[in-house]
């Protein structure tokens, strides 16, 4: 028996980034051509207990999203183990679809099902995955949509919603199955600044209810308020972990310090 809701042990993932062939830039520079190997996850271990809220942050391109997608088994890690409760997801022969049903995932670019209304988006997995009867699926979907405060647009299609509404529907879709944990990949970074607030409010509500969450985000005020632990991630590795106070006051590592400086300066200047 482990005490962890989810755990990553010595995870590795590299991927090959294909660069466009001979892209000529305006200045006359040429982009490097050919293949480029990205070490997105290099020996990363992480444990999450029930009710934990952990926040991963770091420079873009550092592999945070890849790590999160590996945790959800949306990408298969090259090496290492992922546990969901006692079950090892990285073992061969494990039904990863079943495992994913117990993990909620919120995408940066939202990814709602475009042919379904808000209600349909939340209902689909309840019907197809949990095999709930129609009535019960509808009730649970409506509850989830009410929880993220989008009850007024349940019959709208994704293209008819604002980014903030769509992302809250995305969150409703993730929480409706009562997953063991919710993984959120920069849930606000694709939204207009004035819309991030409503999504952050929703996340705050979830935090208050004790939802277990692993969030990739750069929303520092939010992090400070709800995260138990912040994880500074750079070049495929966890560089430093600690409570928000540590990062806001005096990070231990230079890299984290420089990064925090940049972020905080940017925030105060705005």
């Amino acid at each position: 028996m482990t005490n962890y809701v989810m755990e990553a042990r010595h995870l590795f993932k590299t991927y090959v980034e294909k660069k466009a062939k001979k892209t000529k830039e305006v200045g006359g520079d040429t982009c490097p051509t050919g293949k480029h190997i990205v070490d997105a996850v290099q020996d990363v271990s992480l444990q999450i207990r029930k009710g934990d809220i952990k926040l991963i942050f770091g420079p873009s391109g550092s592999g945070k999203s890849t790590f999160l997608r590996c945790m959800a088994m949306l990408e298969t890690p090259d090496k290492g183990q992922i546990f969901l409760g006692d079950e090892e997801l990285t073992k061969s022969g494990v039904d990863v679809n079943k495992a994913r049903a117990r993990i909620g995932f919120v995408f940066q670019h939202i990814y709602l099902f475009r042919h379904l209304t808000a209600l349909g988006n939340v209902e689909l997995a309840l019907r197809q995955v949990l095999k709930l009867p129609k009535e019960e699926a509808r009730k649970r979907a409506l509850d989830a949509l009410a929880e993220v405060k989008v009850s007024d647009c349940i019959n709208r299609y994704p293209s008819q919603m604002s980014g903030g509404q769509a992302q809250r529907v995305g969150i409703a879709r993730a929480i409706a199955r009562n997953p063991d944990i919710i993984l959120l990949d920069e849930p606000t970074s694709a939204l207009d600044p004035e819309l991030t607030g409503e999504v952050i409010d929703t996340l705050r509500d979830l935090a208050r209810e004790g939802t277990t969450m692993l969030i990739v985000s750069h929303e520092m005020p939010f992090a400070r308020e709800v995260a138990e632990e912040m994880i500074f991630y750079d070049e495929g590795k966890i560089v430093e972990t600690g409570p928000p106070s540590q990062f806001f006051n005096a990070p231990n590592t230079d890299r984290a310090k420089r990064f925090m400086d940049r972020i905080i300066n940017r925030t105060t200047r705005e």
Partner: protein, 225 residues
């Protein structure tokens, strides 16, 4: 000029011919849709041998004349198999298989625009790839593909006139037989053309209505561009 139109024998021939044309078109376009969808899925998700086989299939049916395909099916295959097969059955199959070669392209194009993010979303809620295909990707792909499918229907309907060259009396064949005995060449062919026109136009209109009815904001043909 049009007296022959009132002859019950000719009327019967035209109706029978029209039925053959309609049957073979609908059969062809539906078999083509089903098989084309499977080919598209195979091409997107299959391994190399599967993809290779699909490419050969598509190139054969798109790259050779329909009439040649019909001749092969009707005259060569029963001999090869040493087993008599009804010409009409073979001809129906050829139209379906031929149409699948084209429809695979339409379906694949539509699915490619949808696949990336929607597959991720489907997997993320715990659905399998197959479930996501069925519940998410295909419902969107079919909506996108309706206009191309209508075009495919129009062109297939007109191609059915080659049926008379393998001895199957379709609408054109019926018209030709009537003209041979009445010698009313121009009125005869004009009348036949009008029947095609009415049938194709009405079917296209129906498809337009279905397209409008099934249309969902955000899922439109311009996604393909």
């Amino acid at each position: 000029m049009f007296e022959w139109l009132f002859n019950p024998i000719y009327q019967g021939m035209i109706i029978e011919g029209l039925i053959v044309t309609v049957e073979v078109t609908l059969f062809g376009v539906l078999l083509g849709l089903g098989l084309g969808t499977l080919l598209a899925i195979g091409d997107l998700y299959g391994n190399k041998p599967v993809k290779g086989a699909i490419a050969v299939y598509v190139e054969f049916f798109r790259g050779s004349p329909l009439l040649v395909q019909l001749f092969i099916a009707v005259y060569a295959i029963p001999t090869l198999l040493n087993f008599p097969i009804d010409h009409t059955v073979l001809a129906f199959l050829v139209f379906g298989l031929n149409s699948a070669g084209y429809q695979k392209g339409y379906m694949k194009g539509a699915m490619e625009t949808i696949m990336g993010d929607q597959m991720q979303a489907g997997l993320s809620v715990g659905m399998s790839k197959a479930q996501t295909l069925r519940r998410v990707i295909l419902p969107q792909a079919y909506r996108i593909v309706i206009p191309s499918w209508t075009n495919e229907f129009c062109s297939l309907t007109k191609s059915t006139s080659v049926l008379m060259l393998v001895g199957i009396q379709d609408l054109t064949g019926a018209g030709r037989s009537i003209i041979v005995s009445t010698m009313e060449v121009l009125p005869g062919y004009i009348f036949i053309a009008i029947i095609y026109l009415v049938w194709i136009t009405s079917f296209s209109k129906i498809m337009d209505i279905i397209y409008e009815k099934k249309k969902i904001p955000g899922i439109e043909l311009d996604m393909l561009s």
